[in-house]
């Protein structure tokens, strides 16, 4: 078995582990894009206080934000097939990855909804009133005045959430997804060197998170020179 921890192995395992980065990136992209789109819908339901739907949205958002993502993933994995079988849709043969993508998108939707909703709500009502006073319609006021300002407010929180979404992907392996962590675990089982693989994965997450954070900070400065 040799040494307990061999730094050389960290680098030796890296190519094999990093070859699975596409799975991780796929999960992040789908969860962020899908979550943002769904988040917009949820935020609209909340902001316009749509009857019935608003209550459901409030419940959904607090449920998702109040329970661990791994539980949500298991619920989707075990409950969705049962639910859909009621309407004669059989998804038992689906690739597990689909369940992961759905759970993460649903999970992020709740976080994105709150980011979007609070950003829009934070734009002073006087901005909308001024827009109306110069003759803009409700939709024009939203598009030209409110959303651009909300975007500036939401941007940093959005960046933080993307980093969070990235780190959340590390739970996908519990469903047997062969992402980077799954690969590290597989290597560990095969070689009895568990730690080295995990260290390689950790290095990836540190680098990727820093990169994202810096990227968002940089983009923030570029996009929002007049923020504040």
């Amino acid at each position: 078995m040799g040494k307990l921890f061999d730094i050389a192995l960290v680098f030796e395992y890296m190519p094999a582990i990093f070859s699975r980065v596409s799975v991780t990136l796929l999960i992040v992209s789908v969860s962020v894009v899908g979550g943002t789109l769904l988040g917009f819908l949820l935020a609209a339901v909340r902001l316009y206080r749509m009857p019935l739907l608003n209550g459901a949205a409030v419940f959904y958002i607090s449920f998702v934000r109040g329970t661990p993502v791994i539980i949500q993933m298991f619920i989707v994995y075990y409950a969705l097939p049962i639910l859909l079988s009621q309407v004669d849709i059989n998804i038992n043969r689906w690739n597990k990855l689909y369940f992961v993508l759905i759970s993460y998108a649903l999970n992020n939707a709740a976080f994105m909804a709150e980011i979007i909703r609070s950003a829009i709500a934070s734009v002073p009502v006087g901005q909308t009133e001024a827009a109306h006073s110069v003759g803009l319609s409700g939709f024009q006021a939203l598009r030209r005045i409110v959303l651009p300002q909300a975007f500036c407010t939401a941007f940093p929180a959005f960046g933080t959430r993307v980093v969070g979404a990235l780190q959340d992907t590390s739970l996908a392996f519990t469903l047997g997804i062969l992402d980077m962590l799954g690969q590290a675990q597989a290597i560990g089982v095969r070689t009895y060197h568990v730690l080295e693989g995990y260290v390689a994965v950790a290095l990836f997450f540190i680098a990727a998170s820093l990169l994202l954070e810096k990227g968002f900070a940089w983009a923030g400065k570029k996009l929002l020179p007049n923020a504040g």
Binding site: H132, S133, G135, S137
Partner: protein
Amino acid sequence: MIRVRDARKSFGKNEVLRGVSLDVKKGEVVVILGPSGSGKTTLLRCINFLENADDGELTIGDLSVRFKHATKREILSVRRRTAMVFQNYNLFNNKNALENVMEGLVTARGIPVSEARETAKRELDKVGLSDKYEAWPSQLSGGQQQRVAIARAVSLNPEVILFDEPTSALDPELVGEVLAVMRDVAREGITMVVVTHEMSFASDIADHVVFMDGGVIVEEGTPREIFTRPKEQRTRQFLDRILLKYDYAI
């Protein structure tokens, strides 16, 4: 010409406007005075439908609407015939001074950008901000922001500009520059309805002064009539108080 007939508005049980009627002739400057909570802001906000009055009628030029039954279309056309200058300026924070003035021209009126830009520059020049085209609201003083807001309102060439205490949020040393711009606007013959506590402005510029209290118009007349021989006790008390507070001599 603006005509408000029997405007009524309650917030819950609080009856804020109890039947207000107001006539403003073309080119006239009407100043509305009144104690805090008398409904002055609410009246202005009802005139451009930032608030939905419960009852009454509004005529602006050839357009007449019932407050209660106004359609979205009618509300939009009322708003396109009016402009408002707010106490807190409310410049668009995501737009620079020039864009603030252009926004209504381009987006609401559909005027070509190049033409709107020329109009906006001209209006900013008139309020003495020819060196601030590119400035963001956060880079402007309160007085400068309010002057941009006035340029924004004037550029739309509305039938009336509603001013809601345009100098109340300003540091005292910045009040003068805004009042000076408002005098220019009045001199151009633009119809104005102004809520203000600036008595010297009112007595110099107003054609007509309206005193409101408790959601009704208590008394109205020429500045001379209201300031030198008010008929109503409530008007007299208000004027005594305000003149004392602001230390004005008229």
